[in-house]
Structures are given as C-alpha cells and as structure tokens.
C-alpha cells in the first residue's frame, strides 16, 4: 500500500513545532479526511494564538487567526458569513476550556454548524507549559511545580461531561499517540465534516496530543503518558453522535 503526503499539506515550508508534537499529525489527518471527502476548496480553518497557529504553515487552506480563546466564536461568525464553506476551528485546551470556555459552551448551546478540533495536551503549550483546566490531578506544570492540587487548584475539567448535556451534533475524544488511535481520530474528523456538510450542527473532537517539551519527557515517553495516564482521566470514544449508531 502506498502512503503519500496529502496534497493539502504545504511541503514548501515547515511548521516550527517542537519534535514529537502532535499538532503535525493532527494537521495531516485533517487534510486526509478533507481530501477523501473531496472538499479541499471549501475548507476554512480558524487558528488560535498558540502553538496551533503554525497550522497555517502546514496546511494550504485559507485561514483566519482568531484572538486567543475566541477561535470557536470566530469560526461561528465565519460560518454565518460563508455558509457554503466547511469551517474548522483548531484551538487548544488552554484556549477552548479556559479563556474561551464561554465560546465553546455557547457554540454547543446554539448548535453552530462548525467543527472544533481541540488539541488537548493538558497544558498551555506556547506560553511555557502552565496549568490548564485539563491538567491532570497531580500533574507537574510550570505553575504547579509540585503537581496539581485539587483542593488548591480545583478539579480537572473533562469537557465531555459538560457538553454531553447540550444538544450538539457530535462529541468525541481521540488521540494521536499510536497509529491506531490516529486512524480512529481521522475517522472521527471525517464523520464530523460529513455532519457539517449535512447541516447537523456543532461538532467537537477533543484530541489528546503529545507535548514532550512541556511535559519534560522524551517524545516516545509522551506517547506512553497518553496511554497510561492522560487517557485514563480523559477517556477516548464518542459521547454524542446524533443520528449515528449510539
């Protein structure tokens, strides 16, 4: 079987993500899902002011840079302006679940017909690995050097528990730590894009992604950390699939 780089990946330049970062893998599976659906000329992405912004150097799609945390709100506006386009917001967990939690919640409540792919590495990546709402209990970060203390810092946020109460179209969690999980996540993205094409409403896919630099571990250990720890607190799977099998 042949495996070739998707045409929608821009090979004339290279995004400056750290070695072993999951962002690059996520961009590849987005472009593969889009190409399989044959809708490359209709995709608009909205990037966040964070590590996700380098996606504009990895993918050839037209991109709007949203203000930090307002990626999903910007994507919702973009969809209203260009309903013929497929709009994909790509915030991180620090953006979508902290400063932008109201954008995320109200897009789900309004059931905006967009796709949000949240790259969840349990830290604020670009600013130096500070604690985010999705930081695991006991996890060491720049602002919780002795580990997240739930009594002091509050409990970890699992967005699926909040959004599962809304009337959104699709809610799932994938990961990119193994080839098998990467393929499953790609199928989730493809399904969510099909739902957007059918006008079903808001889709959010939380993707567990490696951040070896801020987790202070090797790239391979970071993949193992997702398997042994992060996915135990943040379970993978589909939580809402309106009109689907579940």
């Amino acid at each position: 079987m042949n495996f070739t780089i998707p045409k929608d990946i821009d090979m004339t330049q290279q995004a400056s993500w750290c070695p072993g970062c999951g962002h690059g893998i996520i961009c590849r599976i987005i472009t593969e899902a889009v190409e399989e659906l044959g809708v490359s000329n209709k995709v608009l992405t909205v990037d966040d002011v964070a590590c996700g912004q380098f996606g504009q150097f990895a993918m050839k799609y037209n991109t709007v840079m949203g203000a930090h945390g307002r990626t999903i709100a910007t994507a919702a506006g973009l969809k209203h302006a260009r309903p013929d386009c497929l709009v994909i917001a790509r915030p991180g967990d620090g953006s979508a679940y902290s400063i932008g939690i109201e954008s995320t919640l109200y897009s789900a409540i309004r059931n905006d017909n967009i796709l949000a792919i949240v790259i969840n590495n349990s830290v604020f990546g670009m600013t130096g690995g500070q604690m985010s709402p999705a930081t695991l209990p006991g996890m060491k970060t720049a602002t919780s050097p002795f580990g997240r203390d739930e009594k002091k810092n509050g409990s970890m946020l699992d967005i699926t528990k909040i959004l599962s109460q809304t009337d959104m179209a699709y809610l799932a969690r994938g990961a990119v730590n193994t080839p098998a999980n990467t393929e499953k996540t790609k199928k989730m993205i493809k399904k969510a894009l099909e739902k957007q094409m059918n006008g079903e409403g808001f889709c959010l896919i939380d993707v567990l992604s490696m951040c070896p630099t801020n987790w202070k571990m090797s790239e391979i250990d970071a993949c193992e950390f997702i398997k042994t720890t992060q996915s135990k607190y943040l379970p993978l799977g589909e939580f809402i699939d309106k009109g689907g099998d579940k």
Partner: protein, 67 residues
C-alpha cells in the same frame, strides 16, 4: 517489498517512527541533520512491510511509502 522514502531534511529527530516500526527498519542514526537534530536512518538489512505506522506517526511529513 515496500520502500520507505525519508526526507531527512525535514526530520526533527523525535523517533516516533522508530518506536512504532514493527520490523525495526527505521533506527536512530547518531548523525545530525541540517536542523541540528539527530535524524533517523534505514537499516538496509530489514525489510519494510508497508504497514504505514511510521508515516502515520511522523509529525513533520518526512516519510512516504511506496510498493
């Protein structure tokens, strides 16, 4: 037999490909690439089975596989 094509200029030496290759075709090279990272190399004695695991895990689009 499948063939792995690696663009060493893009490699940042994360070695995710080496960790998932079931046949050990890709291994660390102990050589620095143009970006200053230790890059991967192919073990010529091992045969690629074309599973695509390395392609699926490479975050920098360095790897392609042909039949």
């Amino acid at each position: 037999m499948s063939k792995v094509i690696v663009d060493f200029k893009r490699c940042k030496g994360c070695f995710l490909c080496t960790s998932v290759c079931p046949k050990g075709v890709l291994i660390p090279s102990t050589q620095l690439g143009p970006k200053g990272f230790e890059i991967v190399q192919q073990d010529e004695e091992k045969e690629c089975i074309g599973c695509g695991a390395c392609y699926k895990m490479c975050p920098d689009y360095c790897i392609e596989i042909t039949d």
